[in-house]
C-alpha cells in the first residue's frame, strides 16, 4: 500500500474542508477502500476518517409522510438487526444479511456500501486494461471472462455491475440520499444516485467533489408483509450476486395495489424494473402475471458470452422472488 496521510477530523466542517482537496478520500468502514488500496487499484494521498462525525442513528419521523432515517455511518449489521427496520422494511434487512460476511457487515457502513466499487476482475487486475480504473485504456471484460457481468444498461466502455445488495433494496424502497457539501444540503433519489457507465465508466455515481453522504431516508410503504430478497450466487453464502431480486408488494384482497422491483448483478447500478411494476399494478398476484412481468422486465437485455445464462436466470429469479413475496411458493 502506498503511503498516505491520515486525518480524523472531529467536525463535519473540517471533513468538508478536507475532502475538497485533490487526492483526498473519505474513509468510513474501509472494507472496500483498504482492499482496493492494497491492490494498487486506488492510491489516495489522504484518507479523511469520518468516524468521529455523529452520523449514526436510525430514527422514525412522522410528518405528512412518515419516514425512517438511517445515518450514513450506521453499520450494515446494525441496520440489518434493527427492530424498526425489521418491522417496516424487512426487505432491507434481508438484503443486508445476504451481503458479505458477518465480519464485513460489522465494518461496512451504509454510506460506504453505496460507495463500493465494482468487483469486475478486470477492474481489480492492474495488469489489465479497464476504462473504469484507467479511463480510455479499454475493457478487458467485453471479450474476456464475463460471467459476472451486466446485461442491462451497458456501454461500449464498460459492462461491470454494482456489487451491493443493500443498494438494490434501497432502490426498490424509493429511498433518497442526503448529501452535504460546503454549498449546503441536497437530496438525491436513490435510483439516481448510481449511474450507467456511458462514456465515463470511471464515475460510479452522481456525487460531486466535496460531497459527504450524511443519511438515507426511506419513506413509509405498505410492502412489509410481502417483501422478499432473492440472491442467486455461486455458493450458499458469502459470494457476490449472479442475480438478485428485491421485491416489495402491497397486496390487498389478492390484488397487487403497488409493486416495487429491483435487480442486482445485472447493471452498473441497481436496476429498477419499472415496466414490470406498472404491469403488476392492479392485477391479481398469480404466477401467470409474474411470468408476464418477468418477460417485460427482460426487454432490452443483452449478454456477452459467458453471462448468456443470465438471460434465463434473471426472469426465473424475478418469478421466484415475486412468488416468495406473494407467499405463493
Amino acid at each position: 500500500m502506498k503511503q498516505f496521510q491520515y486525518i480524523r477530523p472531529a467536525t463535519q466542517q473540517s471533513v468538508l474542508d478536507a475532502i475538497t482537496k485533490p487526492g483526498a478520500r473519505i474513509l468510513a468502514g474501509g472494507s472496500n477502500l483498504i482492499d482496493l488500496m492494497k491492490r494498487g487499484v486506488t492510491s489516495p494521498d489522504k484518507l479523511v476518517d469520518i468516524q468521529k462525525l455523529p452520523l449514526k442513528g436510525i430514527s422514525k419521523s412522522t410528518g405528512n409522510v412518515s419516514s425512517i432515517s438511517i445515518g450514513a455511518l450506521e453499520l450494515n449489521s446494525a441496520v440489518a438487526e434493527n427492530k424498526l427496520i425489521k418491522e417496516e422494511f424487512p426487505l432491507l434487512s434481508m438484503a443486508l444479511n445476504a451481503g458479505a460476511s458477518p465480519q464485513l457487515r460489522n465494518m461496512a457502513t451504509v454510506g460506504g456500501n453505496m460507495m463500493q466499487r465494482t468487483r469486475c476482475t478486470y477492474f481489480y487486475d492492474t495488469a489489465m486494461p479497464c476504462n473504469k480504473r484507467e479511463p480510455n485504456s479499454g475493457c478487458g471484460a467485453m471479450e474476456g471472462i464475463n460471467r459476472m457481468h451486466a446485461i442491462f444498461g451497458t456501454s461500449e466502455k464498460c459492462i461491470a455491475v454494482h456489487p451491493s445488495d443493500m443498494c438494490v433494496a434501497l432502490a426498490a424502497l424509493d429511498a433518497s440520499v442526503e448529501v452535504k457539501s460546503k454549498k449546503g444540503t441536497r437530496y438525491i433519489p436513490f435510483t439516481e444516485f448510481h449511474r450507467l457507465p456511458g462514456e465515463t465508466p470511471q464515475l460510479d455515481n452522481t456525487l460531486t467533489t466535496g460531497e459527504l453522504i450524511t443519511r438515507v431516508i426511506i419513506p413509509h410503504n405498505n410492502f412489509a408483509k410481502n417483501s422478499y430478497y432473492l440472491k442467486v450466487r455461486d455458493r450458499a453464502s458469502y459470494a457476490f450476486a449472479l442475480i438478485s431480486v428485491a421485491v416489495g408488494l402491497d397486496i390487498q384482497g389478492g390484488n397487487i395495489k403497488e409493486a416495487r422491483l429491483a435487480m442486482g448483478g445485472v447493471a452498473h447500478k441497481p436496476w429498477r424494473l419499472k415496466a414490470a411494476e406498472q404491469f403488476l399494478k392492479g392485477k391479481p398476484a398469480t404466477v401467470a402475471n409474474f411470468e408476464q412481468a418477468a418477460s417485460l422486465a427482460m426487454q432490452g437485455a443483452k449478454s456477452f458470452g459467458h453471462n448468456d445464462f443470465k438471460l434465463k436466470m434473471a426472469p426465473a429469479s424475478i418469478i421466484e422472488a415475486l412468488s416468495n413475496a406473494a407467499k405463493l411458493s
Partner: protein, 214 residues
C-alpha cells in the same frame, strides 16, 4: 524539538508545501521519538488528528487496548490492525490468510464486534479494545470454545482456527447459533480449506447448548 515546533506552527490556513513536507519527513526518526514523548503536540495529535499533524508526522500516535493491556504506539497510517498485532505486538495467533477480507483467518473482536483485522487500519482502532485469540483463555484455562474445537476436531491444519474460534464466540454472543443452518450462514466469513466445517458446527452447537458463558 525546534524542527517539530516549526512543523506544528505552520500557517493556520495552509498546509506545509509538498517539498517542505518531504524534507520534514526525512527527519522521521526524530519525529517518531518525539511522537512517543508526551507533550502538547502529541496531546493535540491524540485528540484531534488534523491536517497539520498528518503533514508533520510520518508515524502517528495510537492507543490500543489489546487483550486488556493498553499499548501506546507510533505507527505508519497504512499499518493494518493485523500487521500491528503480528509484527509489532508479536501476537502471532491471529493469522494472515488472504489479506483481502475473503477468508476470515484474521478475525478479531474490536469493542466486542468481530471484524477482519486485515482490512482494518490500526489508526482507526485508536482508543478501542481489541481481543485476539490470545485473549480468550484465562491463564492455563482454555475458553469453552477452544475446548470444544479440540474435543470435536474442529480443525486439521489449524491455520484458520484462531479466526474460526473468534468468529464462533461472536456468533453465539450475537444470538446467531440457534440451528445448524444459522451457524453455517453466520460462520460463512471463515473459510476452512481442510473442510472441517461439520466439526466446527458441532463445536459451536455444544458450547451454545451447554449454556456456558462465552
Amino acid at each position: 524539538m525546534k524542527d517539530l515546533d516549526k512543523g506544528f506552527q505552520a500557517d493556520e490556513n495552509h498546509e506545509p508545501k509538498e517539498n517542505a513536507r518531504r524534507d520534514f519527513l526525512k527527519k522521521s526518526s526524530l519525529l517518531t521519538a518525539v511522537a512517543l514523548t508526551p507533550g502538547v503536540a502529541v496531546k493535540a495529535a491524540e485528540n484531534h488528528l488534523d491536517e497539520k499533524v498528518a503533514a508533520a508526522f510520518e508515524k502517528m500516535p495510537v492507543n490500543i487496548i489489546v487483550n486488556g493491556k493498553p499499548h501506546k504506539l507510533s505507527i505508519e497510517p497504512r499499518v493494518t490492525l493485523l500487521d500491528l498485532l503480528r509484527e509489532q505486538l508479536h501476537l502471532t495467533g491471529t493469522k494472515k490468510g488472504c489479506d483481502y477480507g475473503q477468508c476470515g483467518a484474521c478475525t478479531v473482536h474490536v469493542d466486542g464486534q468481530r471484524v477482519n483485522s486485515c482490512l482494518t487500519l490500526a489508526m482507526t482502532v485508536d482508543g478501542k479494545k481489541v481481543t485476539s485469540i490470545e485473549g480468550l483463555a484465562k491463564g492455563d484455562e482454555l475458553h469453552p470454545m477452544q475446548e470444544a474445537f479440540i474435543k470435536h476436531d474442529g480443525f486439521q491444519c489449524g491455520y484458520c482456527t484462531p479466526g474460526q474460534i473468534m468468529s464462533a464466540v461472536a456468533c453465539i454472543r450475537e444470538g446467531h447459533a440457534n440451528s445448524e443452518t444459522e451457524i453455517r450462514e453466520y460462520m460463512s466469513g471463515n473459510i476452512c480449506r481442510c473442510g472441517a466445517y461439520p466439526n466446527i458446527v458441532n463445536a459451536i452447537q455444544e458450547v451454545k447448548n451447554g449454556g456456558q458463558q462465552v
